[in-house]
C-alpha cells in the first residue's frame, strides 16, 4: 500500500513534466551548447595526445554528457521545501498521511527521470556526431542507467536536506551553491577526477559528491564489474546516511515547529 502511494506521487510528477515544453527546450538547448563548449575546449586540450589521465578524448566527452545530464535533470526541490518552511504551509503538509521528505524526493525523482531520458538521447546524438561512438556503450547501457538514476537520487536527497535547513536559516540558496560547486569540482562534473593530482583524486573519489557525478559517468564510459559494484555500494551507503540525516533534521524541525507554533 505504502509503496503504491509513493509510486503514484512519482508517476504524476513525471507526467506533469510533459506540460512544460518551453523549459524542456531551454534545458536541452543549454545542454547542446554546453557540450559544444566542452568539445571546443577538449579538442584543443587533447591536441595530438591519445589519452590523458587514462581517458581518451572520446571517453572524456561522453563522460561529460553523462555528468551534465545528471546535473541538468535535477529539479531544485529545495526551493519549494524552503518556501513551505518560510511561509508556514509546511504545518499543513506534514499533517498529511505520508513522509514529508520522502514525498518531495519521490516527486523530484519523478520529474528528474522524465527529464534525464531526453538528455541522454540528445547526449548520445551530440557526442556521436562530435567525437564518434563510445566503445562499449550498449553493453554498459543497463548498468549505466541504474547508476545514473542512483547519482540523481543522491543529488536529490542532498537537496531535500538543504530545503530543511530553511528551518534554521533565512536563505538556503548559498548552501545549494556550495553543494553544487562541490559536485562540480570534487564530484568531477566538469572534469574526470582522474585528472587531479593523485592525493586529491583519492580524497575526491570517496566523497558523496563523486557518487553523484564521477562514479556513475565513469562506470558507463569505462565499464567494469568492480567499478559498477563500487558505484552502487557507495550510492547505497551515502543514501542511507543522508536519509538518516534528513530524518533527524526533520524530527528536530518538527519539534521546533511545535514549540514555535509554526
Amino acid at each position: 500500500m505504502t509503496i503504491r502511494k509513493y509510486a503514484t506521487i512519482f508517476s504524476i510528477a513525471g507526467r506533469d513534466q510533459f506540460v512544460y515544453l518551453p523549459s524542456f527546450l531551454v534545458r536541452n538547448v543549454f545542454f547542446l551548447i554546453i557540450l559544444f563548449i566542452f568539445y571546443s575546449l577538449w579538442r584543443v586540450v587533447y591536441g595530438d595526445a591519445n589519452t590523458i589521465a587514462g581517458f581518451t578524448m572520446v571517453q572524456t566527452l561522453w563522460y561529460l554528457t553523462f555528468t551534465e545530464a545528471i546535473e541538468l535533470s535535477q529539479t531544485r526541490i529545495f526551493n519549494p521545501i524552503s518556501q513551505e518552511v518560510k511561509d508556514g504551509t509546511i504545518a499543513y503538509s506534514i499533517a498529511r498521511p505520508y513522509s514529508y521528505v520522502l514525498y518531495w524526493i519521490c516527486r523530484g525523482m519523478g520529474e528528474n527521470l522524465v527529464k534525464v531520458v531526453p538528455l541522454l538521447l540528445e547526449g548520445f546524438l551530440i557526442a556521436t556526431i562530435m567525437v564518434g561512438p563510445l566503445p562499449g556503450y550498449l553493453s554498459a547501457l543497463p548498468f549505466g542507467l541504474i547508476v545514473i538514476a542512483g547519482g540523481i537520487l543522491v543529488g536529490t536527497t542532498l537537496q531535500a536536506i538543504i530545503g530543511l535547513l530553511a528551518f534554521w536559516f533565512e536563505e538556503v540558496m548559498p548552501f545549494w551553491w556550495i553543494v553544487q560547486k562541490l559536485i562540480f569540482v570534487i564530484g568531477g562534473l566538469f572534469i574526470p577526477i582522474d585528472f587531479y593530482p593523485d592525493w586529491l583524486a583519492r580524497i575526491a573519489r570517496a566523497t558523496p559528491f563523486a557518487f553523484a557525478a564521477y562514479w556513475p559517468a565513469s562506470t558507463w564510459v569505462a565499464f567494469s564489474r568492480e567499478r559498477f559494484l563500487i558505484t552502487i555500494g557507495g550510492q547505497v551507503f551515502y543514501l542511507a546516511l543522508f536519509a538518516l540525516v534528513a530524518a533527524l533534521l526533520f524530527r528536530a524541525a518538527v519539534r521546533k515547529l511545535h514549540i514555535q507554533g509554526g
Binding site: P22, F30, S40, L41, A53, E170, M173, P174, F195
Partner: protein, 269 residues
C-alpha cells in the same frame, strides 16, 4: 541648466537613491546579506580548481591562453556580471514585469521607463561576484595603473553589455508572450562562453560570439587589449558595445508599442 542636462543629473540622483535604498534594504537582513555575498564568492572560487588542474595536466597554454589569461576572463566576467546585477538588478525580472503588466507602474512615473525598471532593484549576491572578480584581478594579474583603468573600463562595459543582451532577449516577451526561459538561457550562454578562451571557438561558433551571443566584444577582445594595449582595437570594442546597448534600447522601444499591460493572460511561451 538646460532641459536635457537637468534630466540627466536627475536620473543620476535617482540611480543613487535607488542604490542607497536597495543597499539599506539588503543590509536590513545583515546575516543573509553576508551569507549571500560570501557564498557567491566561494561559489565562483570553485572553478579556479578546475583550471588549475587542467593547466597542471597539460602544460602552459590552451589555444594561446595561459592560466593568467583565463583568470583575467574570470575576473572580468565576475566583476562585470556582479556590477550588472547590483546596479540593474531588475533585469532578470523583465519578462515577468512585462507579461504580468507590472510595467504599468513604471510607465506612470516621469522617468525613462527602461532605466527606471532596471535600477529599481538589486541582487545582493552580485556583491559577492563583484568582490570575487576584483580580488581575483588583484591576486592573479600584474599591477599597473593602466591595467587598473582598463580593467575598470572593461568591467563597466561588461556590465552594460550583459544587461543589454539580457534586456534584448527579455523584450521578446512583448512580441511572443512570456520569453522568460529563453532570455535566461541567452543570458547564461553569454556568461558561459565568456569563461573559456575565445580562441577555442572556430567557424560559425566564432561568428555567433561576435553577434547574437557577443562574448567576443566584452571578454575575448578586451583580454587581448589588456595583454597588449592597442587604441584601434579599443575603439572597435567601444563602438560594438555601443551598438549592442543601442539595440537593446531600440528593442524595448519597439516592444512598448506592442505592450498589452497584462492582457496577454493565458498565453505562454
Amino acid at each position: 541648466m538646460s532641459e536635457p542636462t537637468r534630466q540627466r543629473t536627475n536620473l543620476l540622483r535617482l540611480a543613487l537613491h535607488y542604490f542607497r535604498f536597495n543597499l539599506s534594504a539588503g543590509m536590513a537582513y545583515s546575516t543573509s546579506f553576508l551569507i549571500q555575498v560570501f557564498g557567491m564568492a566561494l561559489n565562483n572560487g570553485a572553478f579556479i580548481i578546475f583550471w588549475l588542474v587542467l593547466f597542471d595536466r597539460i602544460g602552459a597554454e590552451i589555444a594561446g591562453y595561459g592560466f593568467t589569461d583565463v583568470m583575467f576572463l574570470w575576473a572580468l566576467a565576475a566583476s562585470g556580471f556582479g556590477l550588472s546585477v547590483v546596479v540593474f538588478g531588475n533585469t532578470h525580472q523583465l519578462s515577468r514585469i512585462i507579461y504580468t503588466g507590472e510595467l504599468d507602474v513604471y510607465l506612470l512615473q516621469p522617468r525613462p521607463v527602461l532605466l527606471n525598471v532596471l535600477l529599481s532593484r538589486t541582487v545582493v549576491s552580485g556583491w559577492g561576484d563583484l568582490l570575487y572578480g576584483l580580488s581575483l584581478f588583484v591576486i592573479t594579474q600584474p599591477m599597473s595603473l593602466t591595467g587598473w583603468l582598463l580593467f575598470l573600463l572593461f568591467t563597466i562595459l561588461m556590465a552594460l553589455v550583459v544587461t543589454a543582451v539580457r534586456v534584448f532577449y527579455h523584450c521578446l516577451t512583448f512580441f511572443l508572450g512570456n520569453a522568460e526561459g529563453f532570455a535566461q538561457l541567452a543570458g547564461e550562454l553569454v556568461i558561459s562562453f565568456m569563461l573559456y578562451p575565445g580562441s577555442i571557438f572556430r567557424g560559425p561558433a566564432a561568428w555567433l560570439l561576435h553577434s547574437l551571443i557577443p562574448a567576443a566584444f566584452v571578454a575575448y577582445i578586451p583580454a587581448r587589449i589588456f595583454a597588449s594595449f592597442d587604441p584601434g582595437t579599443l575603439l572597435i570594442v567601444l563602438a560594438a558595445d555601443a551598438v549592442i546597448v543601442a539595440a537593446a534600447f531600440l528593442m524595448f522601444r519597439l516592444g512598448l508599442r506592442r505592450y498589452e499591460s497584462g492582457n496577454l493572460i493565458g498565453s505562454r511561451m
